[in-house]
């Protein structure tokens, strides 16, 4: 289904984030997902196997309760504490940290909603696990929000709007892809504003690679030799 970000490259790449899972029953044909599996030994993935798959691959399994999910290590509690303390190199953990984190939060919410409904119907009572996952998801969102909107955002905006013409490589190499997009938008707006202050809106576009032809309608409109004449 085509959604707003179907063609968003960073959103697609963010779904490559590997999610730790545990199978709830035997999976046929998927023995190769077991990291400890010797080739050819089995043709199925046994129940209880722990493995990692990308977000895009596990989404349907999660909604149907085929696996138990948990957060990747660099989105876990200890990593979040370091991020909130400002001690972590976020880009080094994941170039699309915020987009991937948001996606993981959505995945966990979908997982808990579907599984809770199924377990209540069937009378299963591992709801403590679900509560734990819901809490983790909420804390992850809080961490993402505080990390994105804190000092990093004010620094990014400050640099984006005030560094027209400067070399910003040193600053931008620490930004995640989402922050770089924001930076680029701000820098483009600042540059356009500077250009407008100098040239206004009345500047002429030089004729370069494409030939601009003006076919005369009456003799009065002929402008011989002056290719830069604007038609008003």
């Amino acid at each position: 289904m085509l959604t707003k970000n179907y063609f968003d490259v960073d959103a697609i790449l963010a779904e490559e984030e590997l999610v730790p899972c545990q199978s709830n029953f035997d999976f046929s044909y998927l023995s190769h997902l077991d990291p400890d599996e010797r080739p050819g030994k089995r043709h199925y993935l046994p129940e209880g196997t722990k493995f990692k798959v990308p977000v895009w691959a596990v989404e349907k399994w999660a909604t149907l309760g085929f696996v138990k999910l948990s957060l990747p290590r660099h989105f876990g509690r200890k990593a979040r504490e370091r991020i909130e303390a400002g001690e972590a190199d976020i880009r080094k953990r994941n170039e699309r940290f915020f987009i991937a984190g948001k996606r993981l939060g959505e995945l966990l919410d979908t997982y808990t909603a579907h599984v809770e409904k199924a377990w209540r119907r069937s009378g299963d009572s591992d709801l403590r696990l679900l509560e734990l996952i819901k809490r983790e998801s909420a804390q992850l969102r809080r961490t993402l929000l505080s990390a994105y909107t804190g000092q990093r955002l004010s620094q990014t905006l400050n640099w984006a709007l005030s560094s027209v013409g400067d070399d910003v490589t040193e600053y931008t190499k620490g930004l995640t892809e989402l922050e770089r997009r924001l930076f680029l938008s701000g820098a483009t707006a600042a540059s356009s504003h500077e250009a407008w202050k100098v040239y206004g809106n009345g500047r002429l576009l030089p004729v370069t690679e494409h030939k601009r032809t003006i076919r005369s309608v009456t003799p009065d409109l002929q402008v011989p030799g002056n290719k830069r004449q604007r038609i008003s």
């Binding site: 968003d8 998927l30 895009w56 691959a57 085929f66 202050k197 809106n201 004729v207 038609i231």
Partner: protein, 210 residues
């Protein structure tokens, strides 16, 4: 069969902007997609043969094969999305490049594949046909693409410094005399130059109540 590997590489190619069209990688991705389609078909056929009878008598697929079937389907959609995105983004860049022929010094032109060259030619013909139908004396709208439309909308302004002494008649026919601190509601086209130079300041409407 590496789930989603070629699709990922295609998107990473896009991040390396202005790389040439990678026909080899696109073919690998298509091949991968076809392998997943075949694997899905084989697994569904095998599972249908081994269907268990449920309590209501209707046959249903065994639970153990469902994860693999779902994974194959997800991989097919994934590859499709990566291929479509690769081509869509490149076409957007070609169109943008066409409408902005002035390039910055350090910005390279995008290298095109044969199909993209054909697209560009067809796009150019479409543009010329449209231009000829729109403005009879112009066959290239790109010279006008960077110019903003005429803006006769009125805006609220405060005079910071007097741009011109005494009463003045603006191009729109409005007569005005500027005094420092005064507020006026004037057509944007008439005052844009003075706003740029700092003689007049745009107000959002909230400052008017100060």
């Amino acid at each position: 069969m590496d789930f989603g590997r070629y699709g990922r590489e295609l998107l990473l190619e896009l991040k390396r902007s202005n790389a040439a069209y990678n026909d080899t990688l696109v073919s690998s991705c298509l091949q991968d997609l076809n392998l997943h389609v075949r694997a899905l078909g084989d697994q569904v056929a095998a599972a249908s043969r081994d269907q268990e009878a449920s309590t209501d008598g209707k046959p249903k697929l065994s639970m153990s094969v469902r994860p693999s079937i779902l994974l194959q389907e997800a991989a097919i959609h994934r590859n499709k999305r990566c291929l479509l995105t690769y081509h869509w983004v490149r076409l957007q860049r070609i169109q943008k490049q066409y409408w902005s022929p002035r390039q910055e010094d350090n910005e390279e032109q995008q290298q095109l594949g044969p199909a993209e060259e054909e697209f560009l030619q067809a796009y150019q013909q479409l543009h010329q046909r449209y231009a000829q139908n729109t403005l009879p004396f112009v066959d290239d709208l790109r010279a006008h693409a960077g110019l903003p439309p005429l803006n006769t909308e009125r805006v609220l302004l405060r005079v910071v410094t007097v741009p011109t002494e005494g009463p003045v008649v603006l191009a729109s026919g409005v007569s005005v005399e500027f005094r420092v601190g005064a507020t006026h509601f004037l057509p944007w086209n008439d005052v844009e130059e003075w706003v740029r130079k700092g003689h007049l300041r745009l107000l959002t409407g909230e400052e008017h109540n100060e």
